[in-house]
Symmetry: C3
Subunit: 352 residues, 3 copies
């Protein structure tokens, strides 16, 4: 197992040391309870109270928190980033073990790089292409003419549809479905006629896609995820959506068809977006927001009602149903007693 002194780590990661630089570190740990010989981190102020009790040998933290540290520390402007680098340094990465498992079914016309690892029960269809050092865990399906870029990892049971292209160093988690048909139907009287989904999905380099997330193929043009996009679990991306570089989206969010999202956006969990919208670069959207119109400027956007005691919520919700009426009553009050008759006591309950 690798071991470094705190001073060596500071040099590698361009931090300063507070306390004993010869402290030996052999891994990363949580701040609480912490682990002797390991290094933890403090970034979220919620956890500041845990710092005094840590059993870690050292901690990564900001300059402001450094005086409170009971143990030696690496001081950094972004402790979370430094910690990510430390965790990567101590982790043993999963490298490809080149070869095709005996139970995999690989079409004769598929091109699998000799440096790729194809796991048990994988299926690779005609003309698909698998790059160098790619890892396909068990039960992955790569459909006809799809391409997986070098060093990408499909952890297990990933479905890649016909013609989907994926860049280098992507990570796709189990259950993800990339390139199923978009939801396209035209109405013919009472019946729905399927609109063939003729586009595909194009994924840039360094994209990560979470477990059970679905990214639909385009109807005519392609659905596009630019480089560095990070999608959490159980996200739904509709057909012809485009997501700009380095945008991150948290779990359970759904993006309807043809919406275009800018670069470097941060979209929280449970958000829903209508179709055909434009979202600017650097937009931040908080959890469970209902995005029904385009957002043309960077900024923070929200909607929804936060949790409340059930009884108070019931009373307020009942009032919301009559908010328009209430506003009219305020308007009448502002106009004064001559503006009209004061509403009867039961007006607001009339359609409850």
């Amino acid at each position: 197992m690798a071991e470094y002194t705190l001073a060596e780590l500071a040099g590698r990661l361009d931090c300063s040391v507070v306390g004993e630089g010869t402290t030996r570190i052999s891994g990363v740990c949580a701040l609480s309870p912490g682990q002797p010989g390991h290094i933890g981190f403090l970034a979220n102020p919620t956890y500041r109270r845990l710092l005094g009790h840590t059993e870690a040998a050292a901690v990564v933290l900001t300059e402001a928190d450094a005086p409170s540290s009971p143990v030696p520390a690496l001081v950094a402007s972004n402790p979370h980033l430094v910690f990510a680098r430390l965790a990567e340094l101590f982790a043993s990465p999963r490298c490809a073990r080149p070869g095709i498992h005996a139970t995999a079914v690989v079409d004769a016309t598929a091109r699998v790089h000799s440096g790729a690892e194809i796991g048990s029960h994988c299926v690779i269809e005609a003309d698909a292409e698998i790059g160098d050092a790619v890892v396909l865990g068990p039960h992955c399906v790569v459909a006809a003419s799809a391409r997986i870029g070098a060093q990408s990892r499909l952890v297990a049971r990933v479905f890649i549809g016909v013609g989907v292209t994926m860049g280098a160093r992507c990570v796709i988690h189990p259950g993800a479905v990339i390139g199923a048909d978009g939801f396209g139907f035209a109405r013919d009287g009472v019946r729905w006629v399927k609109v063939p989904q003729l586009g595909t999905v194009r994924i840039g380099d360094d994209v990560e896609i979470g477990a059970n997330t679905t990214v639909d193929r385009g109807a005519l043009d392609d659905t596009v995820l630019d480089e560095g996009v990070k999608l959490d679990n159980q996200i739904q991306i509709g057909h012809n959506v485009r997501i700009g570089a380095h945008t991150a989206i948290a779990a359970c969010t759904g993006i309807s068809g043809s919406t275009v999202i800018g670069r470097r956006c941060m979209i929280a969990g449970g958000v829903g977006m209508s179709g055909h919208l434009q979202i600017a670069d650097d937009v931040v959207i908080t959890g469970m927001t209902m995005v029904t119109h385009s957002l043309h400027a960077a900024g923070v956007y929200s909607s929804g009602l936060p949790v409340d005691d059930n009884r108070r919520w019931q009373r307020n919700v009942a009032r919301f149903r009559h908010l328009d009426t209430l506003a009219g009553r305020v308007r009448r009050l502002e106009r004064g007693p001559t503006a009209g008759v004061v509403p009867a006591a039961d007006e607001e309950g009339s359609d409850a």
Copy 2:
């Protein structure tokens, strides 16, 4: 590749032609940028501005838009429907290549039609029945006694539970789980006792089910999807739900147990429905609506708050927490100065 003149297409699809009927068309394309020799369409007014710049050889559009077209056009009352038919005409459908892949595991008592295609690593359990021209892509599981109707296609990695029945011409996308147990537990003190889920799922003809959608089996009676129902991705259908013919539901919607939905409804994405509700025929529900009571009449229904600037949202949400109090204050104002004391300035903030 098939090629038709615009006049031939008009004849097949019962449209009229504006412009040169001898224009040759060999495929469909997007309106923008369009593709020479191909035909695009304009249905959504949002995209009207793209019409002038299209490189398509022809366009399907409404009579109202026809005068603005720079290229020959098919004129139709429902351009999207005509376009769906055109796309189907030019697409090469995926036909069954009859046979059972060597890696598939088929129980000796299963009845697989000789015209069906069973893909690699499929599993077909005892007494299951697979109809003519059915396509099972790789990694599908059809559990005991399930039945798949003729010409249905399970794209890949579809799970069909014990006893589930499916009509003809259905399409089921990867990751869909049809017939897992419903969520049924009875409380015994602090512990939950599982209620065996003894029903199954019955699916009509021409049903389409999206990627990673789940349809639970019934507790006693069956869960039912009638003919022509279209479900998008990541939808959850609880036990004993019944969905009427030709109803379409967009992604990420969840329907709780025993709710009955009518025919020809259109339910947008991210909607949640409580259990044991009745939803009438021809109901339209907009995205992310929270359906907590039955809807007995056709119409358009909504709830939720649309996205707003975060700071304004925070101020309004703070007021919502006191909406009932605010309504009371308006009532007092209406009653006039003799009705009581004007509230102190801090009343509305007292429980913030």
Copy 3:
């Protein structure tokens, strides 16, 4: 098939009988229409009107409903629980058929109990451990060093990640992904740097996890589901979440990272929770609630707006955007005519 008299069933399940105790019962059925020779139940008052028409031979119901029963009855304080026990009594449980299917791929270092059943195309990686009477349906993947406790059942196509541990008698439905990476990235300028997810998932005894639900592994510490937790379909559990014993969560709910949920909570469908929250024991949360802060006391909590007619909703939503302004106007009215100028008629529409 087993058959019991009503009196025998009453004795086994500690109920009293109303009517003919010699009535013979050979199975359970729905209340409506009911099935001769079978027993139904009535717990939800919504269905009381069906009681008079049941064709069941007997019914389980409360003392209050007993006088209305047209057929013999078992009287119980919790008819749903008694019915669950009856259904279990008559159901034929799925027992392990010990053995490893020929198509399964089991690492030489994995320890599979001789009483376990390993289905077709399963993959069991190095050092994994499978207990006695475990059933792995087709297409399950158990990654390296994971442990599955005795009598647990993975119905089909379940993914269990590296090092995940699971207690006895768990049931995991198709498509569930337990132990994929949490969503952890640190920002480095515009790019995201992955934070290695070094924890795993620990699952207690008697846990049930629904179809296509995802439970992420911890970043440093583990994600934990205590004994008796019941998760419905399509739930997302973020990294380092902890869920207390006997808590039940309905479909489509998402819990963000590091949130800690107490024991015996009941969380309805479509709920979203922010990260790093504390939820007390015995908390009940209604459907689609947006939980943005900790809940420190037992009780019922809610948020969201219930469905309404679309036009009224639009009018009320437009007013909500100006609720803060409206409250200010009410304040001015309370202060009386000397407090300031009455707002111009267009004030509230100024930013609409």
